[in-house]
Symmetry: C2
Subunit: 169 residues, 2 copies
Amino acid sequence: MGYVHVYTGDGKGKTTAAIGIAMRAVGAGKKVFLAQFVKGMRYSELISLSKIPEITVKQFGLDCFIYESPKQIDIDKAREGLDLIRNIITTNKYQMIILDEANIALYYKLFSIDELLEVIESRHEDIEVIITGRKAPDKLIDYADLVTEMKEIKHYYQKGVHARKGIES
Amino acid sequence: MGYVHVYTGDGKGKTTAAIGIAMRAVGAGKKVFLAQFVKGMRYSELISLSKIPEITVKQFGLDCFIYESPKQIDIDKAREGLDLIRNIITTNKYQMIILDEANIALYYKLFSIDELLEVIESRHEDIEVIITGRKAPDKLIDYADLVTEMKEIKHYYQKGVHARKGIES
């Protein structure tokens, strides 16, 4: 039986933990589908993940609305992602499905928590689901089997350091 | 200038976050040295990381003493690791050095925090250092630029689920 993990909180390490768990799963013979919601930028990790054929990455976002409010295109992209997951999650083509930043998609109401839970609930019994992003809703935390909060204790952004290629992006 | 990151706390995702950040760094053209202290088991992630030539992994442990007290061989292995890091950290051969479970090595006094900080302090200016493991000592937290606590909110071990291949190991 596959479990549902949530990585949330304001601290660093949510997406990277999902990537690390994908690498671990591949090492154990699993195939992984990594859906990145909200994100559309070519993050550095995509270049190295492309060397791992067992991990399929697909982005469903434009990477810019989070500074303002979502547009129809943001909603359309997120829904396209959810629809694709709805189709593959009932099969055993992938044994791990990562919904990176799905919490952010929920926060901006690109789709609803009830829709997401319905999709997850319909999963093939072998599939492990990993959900990341700040602000995980209580309903998701209640549903999940495993929840980790990444808590920011200290961050160099506070010292005025900006996001750096290969570290934050 | 490379920064010092610490991932600590009882929650899941410390080692996997370090692996994910290694993948991101490689995507940005960096070379990564991943030293695993205390660990000696062939974790699943090592199989997939072996496909990424820019990441070098070396283990310095036996993976068993944590249930009892450390033996001389545990101390020797950890010190061998620290000595190796001491040599490479002053060069720019790697631009990221990960000391996985170094906090556990500190906790069991396999080496001291002062020794570790002296090694880190001597680093080549381009090197980013990532340190993981529960129970990061206060002195390390004070020294680090970025600290994330992985806080366990919910864990299926509480339900009696055991560690599973490709997820926890």
